[in-house]
């Protein structure tokens, strides 16, 4: 914010050598559950100096979010409570405060931003109203002064036309914009401490870069101390001064960022860092692939695929706009090959998966195993579709929670009338062993497994019909890095063994580089660049591809970028009026099958 209002302005300029802003000693948090009390944070001590960025990193269940909530005194009541330790903010012990006093501290001296900006903003109030309300609640400013301050705050987070934005509602803004509004709201009161709990996890990579840079700049200007909670070691390397690694509620290691990355002391830290997918570490399997040379019949061919959704609106609910989700996409996948589709949210990559799996109507041609789906009757189509199976992003949401996992894996066999009952259970048992589960786990229900194990169940299910193509739609995105690495290894192993082809859909360039043979980059429903992995990563031609690769945070503090690729405007939407069709991109070969959209 510019100079003017603000009671702590002088404090912001204070030297960094002053005592810690936040001092946590011996903090333990317990949660009452089915089987009694369970400690989710144990004996955690940390200090936060003025103007410092402290990253708390760890995998799910490590207690990092509980720590944040404990500081805010917002632990879920009545199940969780602080069982030991103290939290001091400056000279105040937060545990001594009652509810009313704590409310004054929240927002004013400690602010928090959450992972999902859509759910943390009130959908029925304009952002202006929400911003001014939080300012008015904590200061004695008049309404018009508060409004002025809100506009300043929006300008500070680089939102254009701040004044007219005040009237907008959360749903009218993109995810990145919403997160910026959250940051504006958090920083409008110039708190001493900002807690950011996975602030960029729900955002696209290019937007993530921007938001992180914004946080860093604002912190520098105001001298705010930041606790950044994340699972992403790339973000840690990019942002942190100091790092705390947590696991199972305990601090495993603490140190300066450079030290942690260069000389990790704890085994767990080493494991965690080793599991982080890095661009440039992809193994050179391209060679062996090329050696096979002979072009076998493609498993799947997609030609000029279009998927459009009609939007109804107006008084009579007529179709007045249309989402051009996929606009003329063509590609083919050979047996034993992995084609990755990358792009940011809304680019149509998941829609392609759904069209291939028969979940959405499409126009164009989808040819699977030499048979064009559009010319077939229902039963024939069902038979052909057997060869295409899908693994979804969220392994919990994609398994019926009321069925035993053994039955779930056997279900495809049952539906297609394969094998007798005994044979089925033998096959399922074999599949379980193959994906790294044990056969006695067949009797369990999905909720009794961890995320990685559940995804293994989904893989076993997809494999049950021995498909020729498996579509993996963001299948490892929801998993912790160490689990992610193991699941990726499993997928590769299975490919070698069964010769199955993958259509691997992801937003994560590092993961894509790790697993794919060929890569197609999508933007607004069309492919802008397609080629082998080496072509694409060593010689990206399209500016969008370059920006995607550059935006990935690198898990190496030495390679910290001073500036992220800045997005000039919001990503345009693929919704258009009836009759308008987006301009078709023409792909031209720049050598060796490397296709790039013309005009770049």
């Amino acid at each position: 914010m510019t100079a003017g209002a603000g009671k702590k302005r002088t404090g912001a300029a204070a030297p960094v050598t002053a005592g810690p802003v936040l001092d946590i000693a011996g903090l333990s948090v317990s949660v009452r559950g089915e089987d009694g009390e369970r400690e989710v944070v144990s004996d955690l001590s940390l200090t936060l100096a003025r103007g410092e960025t402290l990253c708390i990193a760890g995998e799910s269940g490590s207690g990092k979010s509980m720590t944040a909530l404990a500081i805010m005194q917002l632990l879920p009541q009545p199940a969780a409570h602080i069982s030991a330790g103290r939290i001091r903010l400056g000279d105040t012990d937060l545990a001594d405060l009652d509810d009313r006093q704590m409310r004054r501290i929240r927002g004013d001296r400690i602010a928090m931003i959450f992972q999902e900006p859509m759910t943390s903003l009130n959908p029925v109030l304009s952002i202006g109203r929400q911003l001014t309300e939080s300012i008015e609640a904590h200061t004695s400013l008049s309404q018009s002064e508060a409004r002025q301050r809100a506009i300043e705050a929006l300008k500070a987070v680089r939102i254009s036309e701040a004044e007219s934005r005040l009237k907008q509602f959360p749903h009218e803004l993109s995810g990145g914009m919403r997160q910026r509004v959250m940051i504006a709201m958090a920083l409008a009161l110039e708190p001493d401490v900002l807690i950011a709990d996975e602030p960029t996890t729900a955002l696209d990579v290019t937007v993530q870069g921007e938001v992180l840079e914004l946080l860093r700049d604002l912190q520098r200007q105001h001298g705010t101390s930041v606790i950044l909670i994340t699972h992403d070691m790339g973000v840690v390397a990019e942002m942190a001064d100091r790092v705390i690694i947590m696991r199972h509620g305990r601090m495993v290691e603490e140190g300066k960022t450079a030290d942690i990355f260069a000389r990790p002391q704890a085994d767990y830290t080493r494991e965690l860092l080793a599991a982080v997918p890095r661009i440039g570490s992809g193994v050179g399997r391209q060679k062996s692939r090329d050696a096979e040379a002979a072009t076998p019949a493609n498993v799947a061919e997609v030609r000029d695929l279009h998927v459009r959704f009609d939007l109804h609106g107006g008084f009579f609910g007529r179709v007045n706009r249309r989402v051009h989700a996929v606009e003329g996409v063509s590609f083919s996948i050979a047996p034993n090959e992995t084609l990755a589709l990358v792009g940011e949210s809304g680019c149509g990559k998941s829609t392609i998966a759904k069209a291939l799996a028969g979940l959405v109507p499409y126009s164009g041609d989808i040819v699977i195993g030499g048979r064009n789906l559009s010319g077939l009757g229902r039963d024939e189509r069902k038979a052909v579709r057997r060869d295409v199976q899908m693994i979804f992003q969220d392994p919990y949401a994609s398994l019926d929670p009321r069925m035993r996992v053994g039955d779930l894996v056997a279900e495809p066999l049952l539906i297609h009338g394969i094998a007798s009952k005994d044979e089925r259970s033998q096959r399922v048992a074999a599949l379980f062993e193959r994906v790294g589960l044990s056969a006695d786990q067949m009797e369990l229900y999905p909720h009794e497994f961890s995320g990685g194990q559940r995804q293994r169940v989904c893989i076993a299910r997809a494999l049950a019909l021995r498909p020729k193509l498996i579509i993996a739609d963001e299948s490892v995105s929801a998993l912790d890095v160490s689990v992610q690495a193991r699941v990726l290894d499993l997928l590769k192993e299975l490919q070698r063994e069964f010769g199955v082809a993958y259509l691997f859909i992801s937003h994560d360039m590092a993961v894509v580089e790790n697993i794919s043979d060929r890569v197609a980059v999508m933007y607004l429903g069309q492919i802008v660049e397609m080629g082998t992995r080496d072509q694409l990563f060593s010689n990206p031609r399209h500016p969008y591809t370059r920006r995607l690769i550059e935006a990935v945070p690198v898990a190496d503090p030495g390679k910290r970028r001073s500036r992220f690729a800045r997005l000039d405007q919001e990503i345009p939407s693929s919704t258009r009026k009836i009759g308008e069709t987006p301009a078709r991109l023409v792909l031209s070969d720049v050598g060796g099958g490397h296709l790039v959209a013309a005009g770049s």
């Binding site: 295409v388 193959r434 497994f449 989904c458 290894d489 192993e493 063994e497």
Partner: protein
């Protein structure tokens, strides 16, 4: 070629699974469910064994059943629950009335639940014109006064207990359909339903194997709520002369006959009312327990 894959041992699910005890045994193990079962058993036994449990005729007006002034008797040693306005033994009437009320509360309500669930599930899953047609019809039924419809239907057919049951079933499915519709359409959007489609599951399979089990809690709640509603609806119909014909007793018409004397003879409303409440509560307790038992994610919780 098949190199062993490192098993995922991060959190090895609960490994030893005890063989699933039967639903019945797990039901009986819950104290509240057992209480529900006991109440239902008592009501059913009372209905069936009524002639042996009481020495009175349910429709007999007894001379000593009224005071000199002609008002009903409060509960005493001879008439355990007192007598009604016409000097009939209330306990006997409640026992015989249970026959009617059980048929209405279970059969009529059950049929209504069945129709409602079917309409709701089909409309919610298929959407399109089938869904629209079904739901507009449901809305129409909702807007139409249920009582008027019941009177029309009852006028066409000869009044009898079974006709009343049918009429109630045809009137009462609407709310269930509406609720089930909403829930089905949100379930149909869930990812595991998409996952079922990708493995080639047919619509009936998805509907009955994957959607219906998730609707169980709602169906149970509406089923138990429906018991008291339908028992009282039967009373209304009887009161209007299109239900069970007097002097045949039903819990609803006992309340209806006597409600104007509520202040002078509160027992006449209290006992049949308590009977309806107990029956609905009993089914609710059983339903609650069944819901938990049939939901695998609740396993192991008290």
């Amino acid at each position: 070629m098949t190199s062993p894959i490192a098993p995922d041992l991060t959190a090895p699910g609960r490994m030893p699974v005890k063989p699933r005890a039967g639903v019945w045994r797990r039901l009986v193990r819950r104290r509240l469910a057992l209480l529900g079962l006991v109440i239902v058993t008592i009501v059913v036994a009372g209905a069936v064994l009524a002639p042996w449990l009481t020495g009175y005729d349910p429709n007999e007006q007894m001379f000593d059943g009224l005071t000199i002034e002609g008002s009903p008797l409060p509960p005493d040693a001879k008439f355990w629950l007192g007598t009604d306005l016409l000097g009939r033994d209330l306990l006997t009437r409640i026992l015989y009335g249970a026959r009617t009320s059980l048929i209405i509360g279970i059969v009529a309500n059950g049929v209504a639940l069945l129709i409602g669930t079917l309409v709701g599930v089909v409309a919610g899953y298929f959407r399109g014109w089938i869904g629209s047609a079904l739901m507009r019809f449901t809305d129409l039924m909702m807007a139409f006064p249920a009582l008027l419809l019941a009177i029309c239907l009852a006028a066409v057919f000869e009044p009898s207990l079974w006709i009343v049951a049918m009429v109630i079933a045809l009137v009462n499915w609407v709310q269930t359909a509406r609720v089930i519709y909403t829930e089905t359409s949100s379930l149909a959007e869930r990812e595991f339903i998409d996952a079922e489609r990708t493995i080639g599951a047919s619509a009936p399979r998805i509907l009955f194997r994957h959607i219906l089990p998730h609707l169980l809690p709602t169906i149970i709640v509406w089923g138990t709520l429906g018991i008291s509603t339908t028992v009282l609806l039967e009373a209304t119909l009887s009161f209007l002369g299109i239900g069970v014909q007097p002097p045949t007793a039903s819990w609803g018409n006992i309340i209806f006959e006597n409600q104007t004397y509520f202040q002078a003879a509160p027992w006449l409303v209290f006992f049949p009312g308590a009977a309806i409440l107990a029956l609905a509560l009993a089914f609710n307790l059983i339903g609650d327990a069944l819901r938990d038992i049939l939901d695998p994610t609740q396993r192991g919780r008290a």
